[in-house]
């Protein structure tokens, strides 16, 4: 735990064009015990989350995006082996003592989950759950109540004075997700991890929740790490995006650039698969095959079996991340012109 050395580590000066990084993930790998031995579900992943910005983690099933977020909050299942570094204010989350990590959870780093229905305790009032972290922090009951009502008001829950005493089953899906956001805000975190925060919601509600997330990020000056498979959500919210496939990073860059002119063949395929609503698009030329799970990751570039441009080199050699433009990195031997 040579914590101070992490800050001055020369290798960390790779992606520094943007604002100061709040969280710097470096060469993160996660192994989980599977039925057939250890499986590397996240492999050599590096990216940064900058203060006041939203970083999007894009990926399909089995891409390792949720595992990465879970590693950051420190709730990986027992038996998971983590290597690499996660630098947070000069400290490494990977080697940090569990007690310190716990203190960080909710206060430094908060998390919003996919399914607000399942993530709220059905036997406790919303107000109690939103205020739990404050109460445990020793705030007097009266003040907790006032803060909770204020929080509920800020996330757009109407009539917070009556609503805070209600139970989750009395809330609609959208309101529940708002309550989850309020819970996350209660600890005044610097970083919010949002794991598919709108996937379980209807279209009309989704747009409002995304607007809310953007608003609270701006108001609080927080950083946000948004995990999603939905490129449309990313296009709306993410400043930077990280595209993952089979546990590895394909592409990193600003959201606008990556989604407008993808450099990695996989990102390109994803982008063209998204049907547009406001203009009629033909159904995209589909990628062959299925997303590969980390357990059966092929040699070389994990994407090569589905890639039209794959050469011999792609089958044998793992492509390293390389800079193709300012703030833009791609792990491909033959990237498209960005």
């Amino acid at each position: 735990m040579n914590r101070s050395s992490n800050v001055t580590d020369p290798s960390s000066a790779v992606l520094d064009a943007e604002p100061a990084p709040l969280l710097r993930v470096e060469h993160l790998s996660i192994d989980l015990p599977g039925p057939a031995g250890q499986v590397r579900v996240v492999d050599d992943v590096s990216f940064t989350v900058a203060e006041g910005r939203t970083t999007g983690l894009i990926g399909e099933s089995g891409s390792g995006k949720t595992m990465t977020a879970t590693a950051i909050i420190g709730l990986l299942p027992a038996g998971a082996a983590v290597s690499g570094r996660m630098a947070w204010h000069g400290e490494d989350l990977v080697t940090m003592a569990e007690q310190d990590r716990r203190r960080l959870r909710g206060r430094g780093i908060a998390m919003i989950f996919q399914d607000p229905q399942a993530a709220l305790d059905p036997t406790q009032t919303i107000g109690r759950q939103v205020g739990e972290i404050l109460r445990r922090g020793g705030m007097p009951a009266k003040e907790v109540r006032r803060t909770v009502i204020d929080l509920l008001d800020r996330v757009g829950i109407p009539n917070p004075e009556t609503r805070h005493a209600q139970y989750p089953h009395q809330y609609s899906g959208g309101l529940r997700q708002r309550a989850m956001v309020a819970t996350a805000l209660a600890g005044s975190p610097q970083l919010i991890l949002a794991d598919e925060p709108t996937t379980a919601l209807d279209v009309t509600v989704q747009a409002r929740i995304l607007a809310l997330l953007r608003r609270v990020r701006d108001e609080e000056g927080m950083a946000m790490l948004l995990v999603s498979h939905d490129l449309r959500v990313m296009a709306h919210v993410a400043d930077e995006v990280v595209v993952m496939y089979a546990g590895r990073i394909c592409e990193v860059g600003s959201g606008r650039e990556v989604l407008n002119s993808p450099a990695h063949p996989y990102t390109r395929a994803l982008v063209v698969s998204v049907p547009a609503v406001r203009s009629k698009t033909a159904i995209a030329e589909p990628l062959p095959g299925n997303p590969v799970s980390p357990a059966e990751r092929p040699s070389g570039c994990p994407f090569h079996p589905r890639c039209a441009k794959a050469q011999d080199r792609c089958r044998s050699e793992v492509p390293q991340m390389r800079q193709v433009a300012a703030g833009r990195q791609v792990a491909c031997h033959f990237p498209e012109e960005a």
Binding site: E60, A207, L259, V274, A276, V277, T281, P286, R306
Partner: protein
Amino acid sequence: MSLIEVRDLVVNFHTRWERRRGTKPNAVDGVSFTLRPDETLAIVGESGSGKTTVARCVVGLQARQKGAVLFDGAPVGPVAKRPPATRRAIQMVFQDPAASLNPRMTVRSIIAETWRTHPSAAPDGRSWDAAIHELLADVGLDADVATRRATALSGGQCQRVSIARALALRPRLLVCDEAVSALDVSVQSQILRLLTGLRAARGLAILFITHDLGVVRQIADRVAVMHQGRLVETATADDLFERPGHPYTRKLLDAALDLEGA
């Protein structure tokens, strides 16, 4: 003439107690529409709008309180009471790819089951295996999939098998209930391509239930928008997206996200 006509459909899931108090709204409330033999009609709506319930009424898996479903002009009831020919003609593809297939059965026996139940649809003059391989090829699967079970297949492959099972009976209407919603984006377009290809090759009518407006725009001829159990607007796809008539449709379109124009 229309292939399917739905008239004033009313469905609710009330208990006797709730029916007596009459405070709970119906799940489907007075829905009417028609579907021509070669068209793709999409029913769009948010969760709880009743779109899936309408689809289940059409195929006969859901009982209705009022209204009628007409197939070829003749009223049809619950699936168990339909004549075998009608039953053959209307097939369905479900949302959850893995759960659509009995995990204990091989793909071969899943398809063979349809022919055992409907001998009239069974291939004559050829071995069933050859026919199954041909059917699998039609939906873009290798012949060796026939000996596998759903647990050994990916989501996209399961959905292809589901489609093959439906096609085995040479149906005239395919009801797709959120058939691509659970798939990864990169697989979703595979299945959409397959469906549009089959529709052209076999002259299928498709009733497509979804919440994804982008997908609707890509494949639907006509669109019906549902909101809280009622049909608020039915229009051709182009009309609906260019000139939405109902305020709710407009709200839905406004809320929909696109990659561009963020």
